[in-house]
């Protein structure tokens, strides 16, 4: 399979995503410059973390107007895979591929640390290699990861099993203590209704190797490969 990692001005996890998909799980991968318009040859597009356009105006608010985004939306509409991590998730909500929005963290501070995630739905194309209810240790690193959706959107998310990850503690308890940023109902990651677009605040690309604090991120990349085979 082939990954494409979009590079916006200000992306800074682009190389990390490239490294993991190319060197760790050893798939084809290429960078896609934000001014490019053709993304046809890739199976899964990654919108990496970072500060696209310096977070000017609002996180993700300018990146959504980048030339490449039109093709990303078309790619998603065809049912092909899009993975938005951190700033990528913020861009996906800004461009309307995913519902809701990401506000400033509850404590108004940037937070970088390992957190636990409970896999709420393991039948998606991004989580099919995870056990039901599996607890993953994956780091977060963001200042604006406080997920919010209105009542209607939230109901729909639940009805369609679109909530994929929730923040929890080591034992899997989901409550305000295990909520690092104030996200609504501890939501850490969601998919679109069709299940081919995932947005998540935690960084799976940061925990795929032995030397890192966890290897749980691999589950997501493995699931993606699995879903294509």
């Amino acid at each position: 399979m082939k990954y494409g990692v979009i590079v916006f001005p200000g992306s800074n996890c682009d190389h990390d995503c490239f490294w993991v998909t190319g060197n760790v799980i050893k798939q084809d991968v290429k960078f896609i410059w934000h001014k490019e318009k053709n993304v046809n040859d890739v199976d899964c597009i990654i919108l990496p973390g970072g500060f696209s356009y310096g977070d000017y105006l609002r996180t993700g608010a300018i990146a959504r107007f980048s030339p490449v985004m039109e093709s990303v939306i078309k790619h998603a509409e065809k049912g092909k895979l899009v993975l938005g991590i951190c700033n990528g998730f913020q861009i996906l909500t800004e461009c309307g591929l995913l519902p809701g929005t990401l506000m400033r963290n509850r404590d108004l501070r940037f937070i970088c640390k390992d957190v636990y995630l409970s896999v709420e739905n393991n039948s998606t194309r991004f989580t099919n290699c995870a056990q039901e209810g599996q607890i993953l240790s994956i780091p977060i690193a963001h200042g604006e990861g406080n997920y919010y959706a209105n009542a209607q959107e939230l109901t729909k998310l639940k009805e369609n099993n679109q909530i994929i990850f929730r923040y929890c503690d080591r034992e899997g308890k989901i409550n305000s203590y295990s909520n690092p940023n104030g996200s609504l109902e501890n939501i850490a990651g969601i998919v679109n209704k069709n299940g081919n677009v995932l947005g998540m605040m935690p960084h799976p690309e940061r925990c795929c190797e032995n030397m890192m604090s966890s290897m749980d991120g691999i589950v997501i990349f493995d699931s993606i490969i699995n879903s294509l085979n």
Partner: protein, 748 residues
């Protein structure tokens, strides 16, 4: 029209921080009265910040030679050392103390921006940051607001640009009240052949301006950093620059892309003293001359005159010397990154820096007058009177404490020891996915994806020791840094230092400075870790006094392979605790005396470099052999605190207990044995079967080592002399992990 000679009055000269003798020197170089622009140029280039006029002579004591040195201290923006297989690293520490005191957020942020530029101008990709910080009493609301501002400023810049902040230190002491220290360290990696230089060579080559447009921000920042702060300093706020990490990210990528081609002859960042410093320094290094036309400089404000343009310290700007026929290539790369490159002048061989505004010459100064021939002063160091009184402390002045367990908890919760995760969780310390040892251990470790090797880095500097004995304090700063590096499994390679002191024209400050440098130099020789560069920050002083002399040592080490990496935390399971190094009860200058008894007195611990080297060599050897599982150096708070810190694995969120016995020494005092800061000591852990063998190996090598107890039990038990201490693990955890956060939250 007023003649320019009339504007250069004695008041104007004085306002530029130029002495009468220095002004005479200027007249000598020019053979005429300088224009106001020229006076401004001299003023910034001859400021302490740019010319090192009060430190140059003493800094020569530092050893700067070594087998792997590719770029020596003082040659370029940062030193470069070889790490094998064609790879090299470049690193440096800088200060941004004065701007951060006035405007903590932007002051700290632009400090990060500046040090990153220093590294990528060497052709290196910056891959790690550290931030050694010093503040006044953490209970003061003013200090808390400074701390919050500085930390969020570093986070803002470092996180956005995508370089992990992997280490540093945060200390609080009244001595830094009003004069916080914000030092910033950056390390980058490069191929030998990609090494870039900051020299303007090749007559006819283009002088190219890239990056942000020039505004009025930061005018006279360098001069400002060379003065004492007083109540009026808050009015100097316009001298603090405003940073834009996004723009710097673009600049970094564009410059590295360009440097990987072969069109750039020289590159220099516009940091302190902006356009002035970058033009005359590149010309000076190239032994050439430069002519620029400031009417071509991109401006963000209207009506800026030559004086303002030359002295502006607007951030995120670079100066490049580009081969004559390569402008097209330069333009195409910068356009890709939505940046503009503008040719503003040419290199010539005149030895003169000529600044024109259109057709009018506004400054014409021999380059060497601004650089090599800038004034240098030999100070008259004189031992301050306070030293002897402060060093003199008899044991009976220190009340014997009976609840030693309570003291351990109080020290663990002291902001100088307590876990600093409130600080480093605000920094993205994982981006780039190289951080193998996360913040909180003795040294940070990053892997290099390009090779199998890893780099360890640590920053250290104990102002308390240096206040009481700058010579020993200087030695200890280097030795402790090397010890931290060794504990992580690395061989110490080289040092960068940031020397933070008071007003150097005062004889006692000059003495502190000289003694620190002497001590550091001796230690650097001992560990074969040459100084590859750094920075001097003087005038950290306000009407209430100077800061404690605070040399910050940033040391880097090389780890041959992943298996050698060690952390400070006892592993899971059970095993033996080994103390390598001497027993001891040197209590003078300890954190215990200061925080528990309110005494910043006594003779700080002695540093025997031979013992230290023996301990470090032995520990590195057995780490590499795989015989020990963790290693932690004994420093602030002594053995008791080092043991407690080894129990709390902050990243795994686990805690283990110990059962250990510490002998009492000559003083007969249990508290001295627990909290004394005798040097050259490292705590190791090993599985029971290996422990005796480790002791045997140590004995063979003539290194002191003893098994002092077990780890992997249910509570924290220490026997010292006739006393027994037992603390439950949740209490240890609560004190160490939560105190700082709770303290800071209380005022939110």
């Amino acid at each position: 029209m007023k003649k320019h000679e009339d504007t250069i009055t004695p008041e104007v000269i004085k306002k530029h921080g130029i002495t009468e003798e220095e002004y005479e020197k200027i007249l000598g170089f020019l053979n005429r009265v300088p224009t106001l622009t020229e006076l401004g140029i001299f003023s910034v280039m001859w400021s302490e910040h740019c010319s090192y006029k009060h430190s140059r002579a003493v800094l020569k004591l530092f050893p700067t030679e070594g087998p792997g040195i590719l770029v020596k201290a003082g040659e370029e923006n940062a030193g470069v050392i070889d790490i094998g297989e064609g790879w090299a690293i470049s690193f440096k520490v800088e200060s941004h103390n004065h701007p951060s005191a006035i405007e903590p957020f932007q002051g700290a942020a632009t400090g990060i921006g500046g040090i990153i530029r220093d590294i990528f101008t060497m052709g290196a990709r910056p891959i790690a940051l550290m931030d050694p910080l010093r503040f006044g009493d953490v209970n003061s609301p003013k200090v808390q607001s400074l701390l919050k501002g500085v930390v969020s400023g570093i986070a803002h810049y470092g996180n956005c640009i995508g370089i992990p902040t992997v280490g540093g230190e945060t200390y609080f002491d009244d001595a830094y009240e009003g004069n916080p220290l914000v030092n910033v360290f950056c390390l980058g990696i490069l191929r030998h052949e990609k090494l870039a230089r900051g020299a303007a060579t090749g007559v006819g080559n283009s002088v190219v301006y890239v990056g942000a447009a020039t505004g009025r921000d930061g005018i006279h920042g360098a001069t400002f950093a060379s003065e004492e702060l007083d109540d009026n300093s808050i009015e100097d706020r316009s001298a603090v620059q405003v940073g834009d990490p996004f723009l710097e990210k673009l600049l970094l990528e564009a410059c590295l892309e360009l440097l990987h081609g072969h069109s750039v002859v020289g590159i220099q960042d516009m940091g302190a003293a902006g356009l002035t410093c970058s033009t005359c320094e590149t010309a000076s290094r190239g032994g050439s001359g430069i002519e620029i036309d400031i009417s071509k400089v991109p401006m963000r404000e209207t009506g800026m005159n030559a004086y303002e343009t030359m002295l502006s310290e607007s951030q995120e700007r670079m100066l490049m010397i580009v081969e004559n026929d390569q402008m097209e290539k330069v333009n195409s790369i910068f356009e890709k990154w939505d940046l503009h490159a503008v040719e503003i002048g040419k290199v010539n061989n005149s030895g003169i820096m000529t600044v024109k505004n259109g057709s009018q010459v506004v400054a014409e100064i021999p380059v060497k007058a601004l650089t090599d021939e800038a004034p240098a002063y030999h100070s008259s160091p004189c031992k301050p009177v306070y030293i002897e009184k402060a060093q003199n402390l008899s044991d009976c002045e220190i009340p014997e404490q009976y609840d030693l367990g309570d003291i351990i908890l109080r020290l663990l919760g002291n902001p100088n020891i307590a876990c600093k995760r409130w600080v480093w969780e605000q920094y993205d310390h994982m981006v780039m996915t190289n951080t193998v040892v996360l913040p909180g251990s003795d040294a940070a470790v990053i892997r290099l994806k390009e090779t199998n090797k890893l780099i360890a880095m640590s920053s250290d500097g104990n102002g308390r020791y240096c206040y009481l004995d700058p010579y020993e304090g200087g030695k200890i700063a280097v030795a402790e840094s090397a010890r931290n590096i060794v504990c992580s499994g690395a061989k110490p390679l080289a040092v960068t230092d940031c020397m933070n002191f008071g007003n150097p024209t005062k004889n006692d400050v000059a003495w502190q400075f000289r003694k620190c440098v002497e001590g550091m130099s001796e230690a650097c020789e001992c560990f074969s870790t040459p100084v590859t560069g750094g920075n001097v920050s003087f005038y950290n002083e306000n009407p209430w006094g100077a800061i404690d002399p605070t040399p910050i040592v940033g040391m880097v080490g090389l780890i041959e392979k992943e298996e050698h990496v060690r952390k400070q935390w006892f592993p899971d399971g059970k095993g033996k605790i080994i103390l390598v190094g001497p027993l001891g009860d040197e209590i003078g200058g300890s954190l215990y005396l200061k925080e528990i008894h309110g005494l910043k007195r006594g003779l700080p611990p002695r540093m025997n470099l031979k013992t230290e080297k023996g301990v470090q060599d032995f520990v590195l050897k057995i780490i590499k052999k795989g015989d020990v599982l963790s290693a932690h150096d004994v420093s602030d708070g002594g053995l008791a605190i080092a043991l407690a810190e080894s129990c709390i694995n902050i990243h795994q969120d686990t805690i283990t207990g110990i059962d250990a016995k510490i002998p009492v020494c000559l003083s007969g005092r249990e508290d001295f044995a627990l909290f004394g800061e005798t040097q050259s000591r490292i705590i190791l852990s090993a599985v029971s079967e290996k422990a005796d063998d480790v002791i045997e190996q140590a004995a063979k090598g003539g290194v002191q080592a003893r098994i002092i107890g077990d780890y992997g039990v249910d509570s924290f038990c220490l026997k010292v002399g006739s006393k027994s201490i037992k603390i439950e693990l949740p209490e240890i955890k609560q004190a160490y992990l939560n105190t700082l956060e709770e303290l800071l939250k209380r005022n939110e």
